[in-house]
């Protein structure tokens, strides 16, 4: 399944948005959290600054998000992880409301109640969770609903290499395979689960091989490359949409930042990130686009300008949005 020019350009621009978004966030997140802005004695204060809570960034992991989501429609469901921004952006979640949510503002997707790990966008059918392995069961449920509603909607569960050892992985794949539901299970293998390398947590090399335990197709994408993910993801989404049941995909990808911002990354071999960044998938896709005559300097500059603008506007929207009133804390436990 070859991407069209339009799809290639969409993937390219979306990857740019994600990267820009995460790189800005990497800095914004630190605002107010470092001396001298914080309490004496602390090196870093997670509880200060404009962005609350933990922050898990996905720079480097753009291909898995755009390569799969390029095949999705608005009615398809995506469930992401604790590291959700790239999935949300690729699924079309509006950047302003998402950023406002991450800033804990009243204009956010969840009125500031959910936050970075809990982005809910019912319209664009995106959700995520801070619990490792929790994305899989609700994706199975979304697929079940699609079948009950007589729709050809597809559900995608993204999860990490660490999550592939949670019980929910097994239960969800079995259930989806048994009921032949339109789910695509996508494992992001960025090698790390916080400080634990995949080889220290997973008995076999490729989670894609676990598909045989459920009698479904399993494919591993060995390269952190949007076009390769696009091809494999396209097969799986089409298969699901046709009613032929679930698939499992594992994509090798790279985490450029720490597990969360503030992570000293003492567990990480020196130079690993620099090495990984040498195979940055964004310039790679740019080269591909250029080779195919789909991108020139001017086009690229226009994209970059758009990306800059949309990201800047999102952060500005968030910063200028009000905080929710204290009284709202008690609301929305129930509808």
């Amino acid at each position: 399944m070859e991407p069209t020019a339009e799809q290639l350009l969409w993937m390219y621009e979306t990857m740019q948005v994600i990267r820009e978004y995460e790189e800005v966030m990497a800095k914004v997140y630190l605002e107010g959290k470092l001396p001298p802005h914080i309490q004496k004695g602390l090196a870093f204060d997670i509880g200060s600054g404009p962005v609350p809570g933990e922050m898990h960034l996905a720079a480097g992991q753009e291909p898995v998000a755009v390569g799969v989501c390029a095949h999705l429609r608005k009615e398809d469901t995506v469930v992401g992880t604790h590291r959700p921004h790239h999935f949300a952006i690729a699924k079309g979640v509006p950047l302003k409301e998402m950023t406002a949510e991450i800033f804990g503002r009243a204009t956010g997707l969840g009125r500031g109640k959910g936050g970075h790990m809990h982005l809910f966008d019912a319209e664009h059918k995106f959700s995520c969770s801070g619990i490792v392995g929790a994305s899989l069961p609700p994706a199975v449920g979304a697929a079940l609903a699609a079948r009950k509603l007589g729709k050809d909607w597809v559900a995608v569960a993204f999860f990490g290499d660490g999550a592939a050892n949670q019980g929910t992985f097994h239960e969800s794949l079995n259930l989806a395979a048994l009921w032949k539901l339109p789910v695509v299970f996508v494992c992001e293998d960025n090698k790390w689960a916080i400080s634990v390398a995949k080889g220290m947590s997973t008995a076999i090399a490729s989670n894609a091989d676990r598909s045989t335990a459920y009698g479904i197709p399993g494919v591993r994408v060995e390269k952190n490359d949007a076009v390769e993910v696009f091809e494999v993801g396209g097969e799986a989404v089409a298969r699901a949409r046709r009613g032929d049941g679930p698939s499992l995909i594992e994509v090798k990808t790279d985490r450029y930042f720490g597990h969360f911002q503030g992570d000293a990354e003492l567990y990480r071999p020196k130079g690993e990130v620099e090495e990984l960044r040498r195979n940055d998938p964004i310039p790679a896709l740019a080269a591909h686009l250029r080779a195919r005559g789909l991108l020139d300097e001017a086009g690229d500059a226009a994209i970059r300008a758009r990306v800059q603008r949309v990201v800047t506007e999102a952060y500005e929207f968030a910063r200028s949005s009000p905080y929710p009133e204290s009284a709202e804390a008690a609301q929305h436990v129930f509808v």
Partner: protein, 344 residues
């Protein structure tokens, strides 16, 4: 309490499956998932007869994968379906608790009220037939403690039907607990009081409204589920000794009708909280505290009394189980104690 027209006497199991069946007819988005809920009709018959009526696409037997199918209920509800999921025994919640309390219970809040999750979880609770530590618990207080779920604990068939109708129609997740020992099953002793006239027409019993199961003036007994039946029997015993007990059936723990409790204790001045869940850090403490917080207006005549499973797992052996779970006799004794002690 029962409507005058078209009532028959049903067991609680029949009342529950009737409510589900009627709501499934009314609303095509309602369906049921669980283990052995199809041909078997549910181990405690809560889905009896439904497979034949609605077929396997709406009455879905699942693998023994509670996290997957309860999580799937959340996912399906977010898409507009109204799933009912049965957790066979509440004692199994530990294999799927994350999907229940971190997701089903919290997603509405975390989305600022923008995600609706009309899911009914239903489950069997309670002991009395010696099924030991992993199959005899109540545990509703745990789910009432954590926010985000409405908690329904019926004590009889009439309420069971009306509360199930309300649960299914509610746009929020509802956890519905039925006690095995009041379901009226042909293979387990049950309390007669739980089998009641039940109107054929669907009707809703609202959440958050306690029921005065028996009126009285000396002692207030607060209970739920099977313990309401025990409390009524105990009150009849106590009446022979001249003690007049009022029995309050909370019916739902979330929302909790604190005012009905306060009103009754204000009248009687004496409170017994009797529970089959664990005694410590649970329902009995909460009810006692509600009164403790209202001592500005309520005048107690006696210190508060609590009964529950006292800090031990449920033992298997029959005499041990009988000693551990509060019985009618224990309640009578506690009422007597309330009449003979007084506050400082």
């Amino acid at each position: 309490m029962a409507l005058a027209t078209g009532t028959r006497t049903l067991t609680m199991a029949q009342a529950i499956s009737e409510a589900i069946g009627q709501e499934m007819e009314r609303d095509p988005s309602v369906f049921v998932m669980g283990e052995d809920i199809g041909k078997y009709g549910g181990i405690f018959s809560a889905t009896g007869g439904l497979l034949d009526r609605f077929g396997p696409e709406r009455i879905m037997d699942t693998p023994i994968s509670e996290s997957a199918f309860i999580g799937a209920a959340t996912g399906a509800a977010a898409e507009g379906m109204r799933p009912i999921a049965e957790l066979m025994f509440v004692d199994f919640f530990g294999v799927c608790m994350d999907q229940i309390y971190n997701h089903l219970a919290k997603n509405t809040y975390m989305s600022g009220g923008r995600v609706r999750l009309p899911v009914v979880l239903m489950t069997a609770i309670g002991g009395g037939y010696n099924d030991a530590a992993q199959h005899s618990q109540c545990l509703y207080a745990t789910f009432a403690h954590m926010p985000g779920l409405k908690i329904v604990v019926p004590s009889n068939a009439y309420d069971a039907k009306g509360l199930m109708v309300s649960a299914i129609r509610d746009d929020n997740p509802v956890f519905y607990f039925f006690h095995k020992g009041i379901m009226g099953l042909p293979w387990m002793a049950y309390f007669e009081g739980s089998t009641t006239p039940v109107p054929e027409q669907p009707y809703a019993v609202p959440f958050g409204e306690a029921r005065v199961a028996r009126e009285g003036g000396d002692v207030t007994v607060v209970a739920v589920s099977q313990m309401v039946q025990k409390a009524v029997l105990a009150a009849e015993e106590a009446a022979k000794e001249g003690i007049s007990a009022e029995v309050i059936d909370l019916r739902t723990l979330v929302p909790l009708d604190a005012e009905s409790v306060a009103r009754s204790v204000d009248k009687t001045g004496r409170l017994l909280v009797a529970d089959e869940d664990y005694l410590n850090f649970g329902l009995t403490g909460e009810i006692a505290a509600l009164v403790g917080e209202r001592l500005g207006s309520i005048k107690l005549k006696a210190p508060i009394k609590r009964l529950g499973v006292p800090g031990t797992p449920i033992p298997y052996s029959r005499p041990l189980e009988q000693a551990t779970i509060p019985q009618v006799g224990h309640l009578v004794e506690a009422m007597r104690g309330l009449m003979t002690t007084s506050v400082a």
